[in-house]
């Protein structure tokens, strides 16, 4: 099917290079991220998907010796996320991240979600209650936890913990959500719930998701990028990538052939 609407840019990597000390992990990446669409990053293990994803919320800043070159432009304000004068804390308010293994804090369900809001200076009880509920609803876990908000988060099932982490990321109303293999530790039912949720979430937030599961990329994303050895080999509409990729390397990867 042809998609005629012209998507708007939410972010764009421009000539992005990244180095872990001497080791170059990303080479000259240019790629658009479209607003309120799901973009999947696929590619063999070690090709740089996580490295790329983590550049968006400046996670690499936490380690000395890591170095960026190039830009990641963030719209509508056209901020270069990588500019030294841009505060990583500010960036992380606008860009949430969900990891492979659910990592709730060893606190109550409520506090897990309220935490980011408190950091932002929200102390009003009513407002916190409201926003926590909204975030939990947004992550499709409200009905399961509304009667046990004071229980410890680590007692939830793996799938529930992951949705709680999504609620935590949603609480601060981010514009972009980064998912790094969010379902690889989950069973098929919990995975299905997360995929369904991704579909719901894109109505209000832009999503960039790393997955090693190609069917998942095909199911959840609007756009797909294939990465190999730190390079962006091919970017396109998911339908096109999975039916008629342009690059032989993409074709070989998604059809499970040896290169």
């Amino acid at each position: 099917m042809q998609i005629h609407d012209q998507p708007t840019l939410k972010a764009e990597a421009r000539n992005l290079n990244f180095y872990y000390g001497e080791k170059q992990a990303l080479s000259n990446i240019n790629m658009p991220i479209y607003d309120k669409k799901v973009t999947a990053l696929i590619g063999p293990s070690g090709c740089g998907k996580s490295t790329y994803l983590r550049s968006f919320n400046r996670m690499h800043d936490l380690y000395p010796g890591n170095r960026y070159e190039g830009e990641i432009r963030f719209f509508p304000d056209n901020t270069n996320l990588l500019a030294p004068e841009v505060d990583p804390i500010e960036v992380r308010m606008r860009i949430g991240m969900v990891f492979q293994k659910p990592n709730p804090f060893p606190k109550t369900i409520f506090e897990n979600v309220a935490y980011g809001l408190r950091v932002r200076g929200e102390n009003n009880k009513r407002a916190l209650d409201d926003k926590v509920e909204q975030a939990l609803r947004g992550a499709a876990i409200w009905d399961e936890v509304k009667d046990r908000l004071q229980d410890l988060a680590p007692n939830l099932s793996g799938g529930q913990q992951q949705r709680l982490c999504i609620a935590r990321a949603l609480a601060t109303d981010p514009e972009l959500l980064l998912f790094d293999e969010p379902t690889s530790a989950l069973d098929p039912i919990a995975t299905g719930a997360i995929e369904e949720l991704v579909h719901e979430l894109k109505k209000r937030v832009t999503i960039l998701i790393v997955t090693h599961n190609m069917q998942q990329a095909a199911r959840v994303s609007d756009y797909t990028a294939y990465m190999y050895l730190g390079e962006m080999i091919e970017f396109g509409k998911t339908d096109e990538i999975f039916i008629k990729p342009q690059d032989k390397r993409t074709e070989d990867y998604i059809t499970g052939r040896m290169g």
Partner: protein, 230 residues
């Protein structure tokens, strides 16, 4: 097409077997058609029964291949060229099966004509030529599939419009015949049935060729007219 091997050799074997089965089915249909054309030309209507009987086998093969396609999709979740191959094959077998049905119609029509003591060639029209052209289209379409040859596929698609034109001129001639001599009506109608079946066989060969192009290039050129075969 991607000729590199899959990490799963089982998958390579599954796809290889699928292609072989399509070509086997194609061979059977081709035989049905050429026997029907021979019967038309020679009046040897003894072969009609075997043409009709072969239809049963063709149907079974169609179902088996479709089933294999479903299995491959369920087990392997094919993508890109693999996906196009499986989708293309499931359409190709539908066209092959229908071409077989048309061969059966031809055979039965031939039997009626000869049993009524007529000889179709006394009508002096180009049905036989039409049939040969359609048969060549089917052969070339199968060949294009076997070799994934899009040039060949495109030439089949071009040939189809010639068959269509020839078919129309045969119909005009037959209508004239019937008006001139109403006693020829029964046989003329049988011949029209036969010519129409042949023309449809050409359409099926064209459809198969369009699928070959889809499988190889990922372009859906159905319903695009002359643009598509450029």
């Amino acid at each position: 097409m991607n000729e590199s091997q899959h990490l799963s050799s089982q998958f390579d074997e599954d796809l290889g077997r699928l292609r072989t089965h399509v070509l086997q089915m194609g061979g059977m249909v081709e035989t049905q058609i050429s026997s029907a054309v021979d019967a038309y030309a020679t009046g040897e209507i003894g072969s009609v029964k075997s043409i009709v009987d072969a239809d049963h086998k063709v149907n079974e093969l169609e179902k088996a291949i479709d089933d294999d396609c479903a299995h491959i999709i369920a087990k392997r979740q094919p993508a890109a060229s693999d996906l196009r191959l499986v989708l293309g094959i499931s359409k190709i077998v539908t066209d092959l099966e229908r071409a077989g049905d048309e061969a059966k119609k031809i055979a039965k029509g031939v039997r009626r004509i000869y049993e009524n003591g007529h000889v179709p060639s006394q009508f002096g029209i180009g049905v036989r030529h039409l049939a040969e052209a359609a048969l060549i289209m089917v052969r070339q379409a199968l060949d294009a599939f076997a070799r994934l040859d899009t040039e060949q596929a495109r030439s089949v698609i071009r040939a189809d419009s010639e068959v269509d034109t020839e078919f129309k001129s045969i119909i005009r001639q037959l209508i004239t015949h019937m008006m001139e001599d109403p006693r020829t009506i029964t046989t003329s109608i049988d011949i029209i049935t036969i010519a129409r079946a042949i023309e449809r066989i050409g359409d099926h060969a064209k459809n198969i060729s369009e699928q070959v192009i889809y499988v190889v290039e990922g372009r859906d050129i159905r319903h695009t007219g002359k643009e598509g075969i450029k």
